[in-house]
Symmetry: C2
Subunit: 128 residues, 2 copies
Amino acid sequence: MQNQIEHLKSSGSKLTKPRKRVLEILTELRKPVTLSEIHEKCGDIDFASVYRSIKLFTELRIVHEISWGDKVLRYEMMEDDHHHHIVCKKCGKIERLDLCILDKVQNMTSFKIESHSFEFVGICPECK
Amino acid sequence: MQNQIEHLKSSGSKLTKPRKRVLEILTELRKPVTLSEIHEKCGDIDFASVYRSIKLFTELRIVHEISWGDKVLRYEMMEDDHHHHIVCKKCGKIERLDLCILDKVQNMTSFKIESHSFEFVGICPECK
DNA sequence: TTTCTAATTGCAAGCTGTTTGCATTTAGAA
DNA sequence: TTCTAAATGCAAACAGCTTGCAATTAGAAA
């Protein structure tokens, strides 16, 4: 978490209680979570502060925004190893997917790709 | 469009004016569009009817729901050739991507995959 | 350590896209 | 043509996200 705090401060932003708490939660959970989920774990911190913290972190590329197509966005600490997810629609279990073909796609198009989603929803063995 | 109408009727649903219009629009546009976009092109049909038509079509697998992570869902007529998209974030231009590694991913996991997103957002050559 | 101020927060209201209940209308079977 | 379950239009509700503003606070400067 120290790197992220460094990065935050060097951008001219302050390390406030809400921001610290949000960082802690993301570091601890180590999986994509919604704003509400973060807010619930935050104690008495206001939802708007969680929202603004996450917005800032996303801009600073400290966290990564993920859409699973269910209208709620999720956020995950940005990690060194690029990865995606397979989610169980029943129990919510998350499996990491260490595979991505962004490079391949980038070579197929004249678009300069800036972001991509590559997410899978299904049923895990236990819920089957 | 005849196949879809067949399918609709054989499911016990009626071919109403709103439904027909929505099908026409989707067939004509042949790209992912939002509910509002469909509604605009619908004339005096109520938004709720567009919404319920699309919901039905999605259940019947006549249309396909797509998320580009911008909080608005888009819908596209389900086609025989499975494909994805690369979208320009500036002008909205859409490029088809006839590549998918669903099979490969399905072989890597014990989850039974039911749906997936594989969408790219970037800048097209003209907007660059 | 204390002072000071721009940055940040909490609150409450607002927004956007989606969803629903209900009285009225209508597709299409009889 | 009649009839009724299904579908519509309307209007209100909802969920998640976003913002303006007065009060608070991190942390630089004294």
